[in-house]
């Protein structure tokens, strides 16, 4: 969308693809509007635009558009409140002498998009929460072609492979707002479709996402979906093995069990002599390991490989090996420079819903910060074409 087109929309007081806000103070309304544009219920198949710094009647609000404001607005994309992550652009423009911040929101490939567990849509000039019927229309809009791995149907699976109990008890409550669930008259099939765990009828078959997050035994259908944990008694792969586990099960079980394994393996030394207070010092900060392993689960490739995520725990270091190289717009040059992309965007959504991700794009920085605080050297990344590994060394 170029300046010309934006300028036309700016002047068009009637278009339902435009929303105006005098200031950025009402963060919730802005996020609701982004969510509604991403859902594109009227099916414009064109971006929706938010102008910030202009009144409802089109007059200029004379808001000064600072860099900080633009950065904050751009941050909405990755804070994980709007799921799946919206595709948006934030720019500063001047139309008819009025300085505004512009947010251009692309319609989503995989609606319904939710903000805080509620599906916002646009109905004419206003915003509303989608009704059952509207959600059904959004589900059907999900395009069949060109889907990321996690949204593709898994032909060999049936709904019998889904653990509906886990889905209803744990996932639904984490993904949807309480009032939405309370008023919910949807059948379980509708719920599965609406959370992208199954494809919309007539096929109605589980997606890879559904099997990974709430499958009874996902590993049988997606063979690489497990973590191989090996603890060596030494520094080499050939040294004797002290402990080994294959951690599998649905995403919820897998991540929880992994946390327990980490808890059990980290040793915490207590220093009781140098200060009046006892100083506790773990050999590895658990938060850093959690971030790196969760990253591996989220970003790895589950296609064309049956390899698991490997966590090799040596006496002086931990190596996390991950099948699948860098993805999308991330390359060796810009890796860890703030550029992020998602091979499995809907798995990322599920992990955010379950609380395993706080915000998108901060996993590695958090890990590095925690390592530094704990006195460990920074994590080292080895990036190959078809796999990625990260090494974390013991605190001295």
């Amino acid at each position: 969308m170029d300046w010309q087109e934006l300028a036309e929309l700016f002047r068009d007081l009637e278009s339902d693809r435009v929303e105006r806000k005098a200031s950025a103070a009402d963060g919730k309304k802005i996020r609701q509007a982004i969510c509604a544009f991403a859902n594109d219920l009227p099916n414009h198949q064109k971006p929706g635009v938010l102008f910030i710094g202009v009144n409802d009647d089109g007059s200029c609000a004379n808001l000064s558009i600072s860099d900080r404001l633009l950065t904050e607005l751009a941050g909405i994309r990755s804070e994980g409140k709007i799921l799946p992550m919206p595709v948006l652009r934030v720019e500063k423009h001047t139309f008819d002498g009025c300085e505004v911040a512009v947010i251009v929101v692309q319609p989503s490939d995989a609606p319904p998009v939710r903000f805080e567990g509620r599906t916002f849509i646009r109905v004419g000039p206003r915003r509303a929460i989608a009704t059952l019927e509207e959600e059904r229309r959004l589900n059907e809009k999900r395009r069949a072609g060109d889907l990321p791995f996690d949204l593709r149907p898994l032909p060999s699976a049936s709904t019998d492979d889904l653990d509906l109990d886990i889905f209803q008890r744990e996932y639904l409550h984490s993904a949807l707002a309480p009032e939405i669930l309370e008023e919910n008259q949807r059948s379980i099939e509708q719920q599965l479709v609406s959370l992208r765990f199954c494809t919309p009828p007539p096929e109605f078959s589980p997606t890879n996402l559904g099997i990974l997050v709430a499958g009874k035994q996902p590993r049988q259908l997606v063979p690489g979906f497990y973590i191989q944990f090996v603890r060596f008694d030494g520094k080499e792969l050939t040294d004797p093995i002290r402990d080994q586990k294959e951690i599998d099960g649905s995403l919820i079980d897998l991540l929880r069990y992994m946390d327990e394994v980490l808890q059990a393996n980290i040793s915490t030394a207590s220093d009781i002599t140098t200060q009046p207070l006892e100083i506790k010092k773990p050999d590895y900060p658990i938060v850093a390991l959690q971030q790196l392993i969760r990253n591996a689960i989220m970003h790895r490739s589950y296609e064309q490989t049956n390899a698991p995520v490997r966590v090799y725990w040596f006496s002086d270091r931990i190596e996390i090996h991950n099948p699948g190289g860098l993805f999308g717009q991330v390359n060796r040059q810009n890796f860890y420079q703030g550029v992020t992309d998602y091979r499995n965007p809907h798995l990322a959504e599920a992990m955010k819903n379950l609380g395993y991700v706080q915000r998108f794009g901060v996993g590695i920085p958090i890990a590095q910060k925690q390592l530094e605080k704990n006195g460990n050297p920074p994590a080292e990344f080895d990036i190959q074409d078809s796999y990625l590994s990260v090494t974390v060394r013991r605190a001295a």
Binding site: G27, Q32, E116, R126, R127, I252, L255
Partner: protein
Amino acid sequence: MNPPIVTFLNNKGGVGKTSLVYHLAWMYFDLGLKVVAADLDPQANLTAAFIDEERLEEVWEGNSDRNTVFRCVQPLLKGIGDIAAPKLENLEKIEDGLYLFIGDLQLSGFEDELSSQWSACLDGKERPFRVISAFWRLLTQAATDSEADIVLVDLGPNLGAINRAALIAADYMVVPLSPDLFSLQGLKNLGPTVVRWRKEWQERIPKNPATDFSLPTGQMQPIGYIILQHGVRFDRPVKAFQRWIEQIPTTYHTEVLQESPESLVPASNSSTDVNRLALIKHYQSLMPMAQESRKPIFHLKPADGAIGAHLSAVRNVYFDFKELAEKIATKIELPLPSLET
């Protein structure tokens, strides 16, 4: 129009008041309001609930001159000027639209000054009025800057000068109680004291010589009580709680509202009393889980350890607090935005 300032006061500590204010602040935010939570308790527990120790160290050890309640009143205390009104960036932004006015352990140092200036107001000098109205002016300034819809104030468990100044700043007062002898006895002190403060402030207002700053009207209207079971000790017989719960409506009616016992609607037993805003149950293991994750209970996720049966309990807590938030909103005539716009 200034947004309503609601304080939560009880002169018995440990009833779970701070956690109540914390959860209500989040609930109002979740319901779409812009909220300022202000920590006027020198113990600063509300502050500790919102932000972690690392950030607190930055704030308290840092040099910014007006990032806590105490630092804002400090110039006034030193006698070098008036309050330093906070700017939006001095409030701690928890979320877009949820701000914390950070408390400070040093705030207790303001107690003596507030105490002596209270009687000095009667002499008709200007400074005592500036001192006594400091909290109100800070809170309204913070609310204006953040465009808040509601201000929630947490107070320490006593009837001292800080709480008196805070109550004068308040439009409304909610009394959190636990169902025990201490809370009930506490009500008998609290009620008459608040009534006296209100009256004494009304006597003082006309004596203000300065016209360049406004004073709070000192409404401090009691809007009801909340029974919290957090403070309950389960080693005492459960039947005893019921006994205290039964006595609360009458005590509240006569001591806090200062109305004759006869005017109490006879049908008001403990559960139908119009003044009872809520009975908040003990949430057992959810509370420590929430504190550890630094979230309100109703935001807990499986990753925080809320799994299986916990999750449906989490949902119940959401509706408990939603109901309470709506009830308070009705009492103070605060419109809640509907999610549809």
